[in-house]
Symmetry: none
Subunit: 219 residues, 4 copies
Amino acid sequence: MSGPGRPYIDAVASPPTRPALRARYDRRRDDVVASAAAVFAEQGYHATSIADLTDATGLAAGGIYHYIGSKEQLLIAVCDALMDPLLAGATALEAEQLPPEEELRALVGLWVGHVATHRDHMVVFQQERHVIEHERQWRAVRASRKQFERMLDEALARCEREGGVHFADRDLTMRGLLGMVNHLPQWYRPRGRLSPRQIADGFCDIVLAPARDHMRKTP
Amino acid sequence: MSGPGRPYIDAVASPPTRPALRARYDRRRDDVVASAAAVFAEQGYHATSIADLTDATGLAAGGIYHYIGSKEQLLIAVCDALMDPLLAGATALEAEQLPPEEELRALVGLWVGHVATHRDHMVVFQQERHVIEHERQWRAVRASRKQFERMLDEALARCEREGGVHFADRDLTMRGLLGMVNHLPQWYRPRGRLSPRQIADGFCDIVLAPARDHMRKTP
Amino acid sequence: MSGPGRPYIDAVASPPTRPALRARYDRRRDDVVASAAAVFAEQGYHATSIADLTDATGLAAGGIYHYIGSKEQLLIAVCDALMDPLLAGATALEAEQLPPEEELRALVGLWVGHVATHRDHMVVFQQERHVIEHERQWRAVRASRKQFERMLDEALARCEREGGVHFADRDLTMRGLLGMVNHLPQWYRPRGRLSPRQIADGFCDIVLAPARDHMRKTP
Amino acid sequence: MSGPGRPYIDAVASPPTRPALRARYDRRRDDVVASAAAVFAEQGYHATSIADLTDATGLAAGGIYHYIGSKEQLLIAVCDALMDPLLAGATALEAEQLPPEEELRALVGLWVGHVATHRDHMVVFQQERHVIEHERQWRAVRASRKQFERMLDEALARCEREGGVHFADRDLTMRGLLGMVNHLPQWYRPRGRLSPRQIADGFCDIVLAPARDHMRKTP
DNA sequence: TATGAATGAGCCTTCATTCAT
DNA sequence: CATGAATGAAGGCTCATTCAT
């Protein structure tokens, strides 16, 4: 019976406070989230029942709720497990102060690599995008997405400002790049023809070429 | 999801046979499909109940079933309403026998324009991609998708064969282009800064530039 | 999926608008409420499952929800079915402008009779009193209870003002009377030794006697 | 509710046998029971989860079960904590051999005082009355209630036999008195206008007045 | 003693679908 | 054609209870 006036403070599973137990709790919670990501990716979030997660995790229904609070919170956890390390990596990269184009390539490389290792999470993220964009309890995830896009745009902008490249339409280029990588989970296979590294470089070549092309034309 | 071994002969709504009635029936069915596309796009297919469609269409539950057979068939209808005219347009284009690059630009233009006018359908299509790719009753829709991708690849290949352009990695380029356009519904707005035409040309510039860049470097 | 910010606007079953259907709907809804009152009274509200109501009403679970919106709304409906006619009767009585003591006896008679014919509702009302008094969605029911108590108090006050009786402590007397009648469902049996009429008069005798007693002592 | 045919030998928490430990155990058990009474009174027995008791007692779930055996046994303990001292007090009173009316006033005083100090227990008792009256494992509590009502009736009967008062309908009077006091928890507040003593006397005045009234009329 | 992880039955509710009218 | 009453199988979630630690 959720209390009055707290419509979005979802029942949250309460972790133990003693540090030793807490560590085990966190580990198992991560397991649950990872299992869920795989099942959600295959069947879709809505088409996945708690019973399906029961099979995937080896926990009974009640056991799952020991860790997640609600099915939707589990979905949020999956998205966080996608975005948090990505943002952390990108932030660390920014701190390295690489030359502009090098930084862009590093950022795209990081990102493509992350998508490759988090294919399930990424598929789920895309599937549920309409929810993420509209509902209040998704604000944090939404903010992460925006934050990353801002960092990507900034990397492109630096290329223009400090790297001597000029995009015909930087905004369009950024959205194009975003699309290329977001679409990756639909076709990337771990032992496919191209490594994440190669894919990332290929994408960078594509978006940087017109820019350099332009340079040559307007010296 | 319908269990394995169950015949996929879904209950199909039976349209009237007399032509006059048939026309009206088809018109109303299209209305239902269009309404459904909008609601599915906003809430997601699974999160949309027949009651929601009841609100959106003005028909009562029973009335909707006059036109759709089942909720999943309605989803298929939405996807067909997306793919059928697109494929028809692309096929007509092929028949025009334009010069390679011109044909590519026309194809992408057609496609981007279609996405712009069918944003809802496109969102739904992407959301339910995991179902489309895996389940038997979706074979036809799946085939349409593959068919379009084949036509796109062929257009790029023609550019190489007959247009004198050379892609560093044509397959990667095609997948990149696919991603750019598939991602369009996430940011395109009808009265935004760029028209569909401009977006399409921008994308083509991006993928063609490295190719031309290459030409210049390897004369 | 209850919308944001509307925590207490419970899903309400939507009755049909066409008058003929509406009448049938209301009749059946009343049946459901009456059945529920009986089961709630015997087992308690919380201990009663929807399955129990399924047995009691002959409707399947979904059918019940066609009429009630939620289990709690059903509980509210039971309380309304208790309070609404009682208040209506009491209001009609007030309009009759009877002499004070006669009016009091009529009011208590009405009330005791109502409890006798609505034993189940009354038992439920008492059982769930803690909810009724505390939760927001119960405001209306709470208001009805208060309204009736006000009318009872006014009847006693009129006896003092215009009827020449004087209570040692009118407030205590009112609360006593309230207790006597509220306790009725615990022991009243339809074909018991005393009729509702007799019970009501007996209670009135009890509360009026000290008042008259007093008169005699202080002439 | 526990199904029929199941033996009512509920799991009972086993207290330690060594007297020193036993004393501490009993003390803590009483704390648990008192906390439970408060929570049950506010939320209702069924609406209270073990987790709620966890919050109220500071013990974890397992800890609570050291003291209570089962949730229902806890409810029984709450009722026992209400009835046992009341019966003990009433029995002690009987042994004092007071004059009839004095004894009645003393008994009602004792009772009202007890309700005032055990408001929570009383509320719970009333809420769960339907269970108490019907289920087998509640026989003991039921017997206590009947025993007290018998003592009350006897006190009234003594007033008639030996005190020279005559009730128009003693049974009805007793039930009225029962109702007045049972209803007390709904309105009594510790620092209200009337003390328990005053309330008890007020109630006695009310029920005794008609009796004396009668005497005067039929000398 | 006390903890908290884990169970699994059961609860309320939703929903696609059918069918008499 | 269209309605809305009705079904019944899930679905998400809760909760009393147990048990290894």
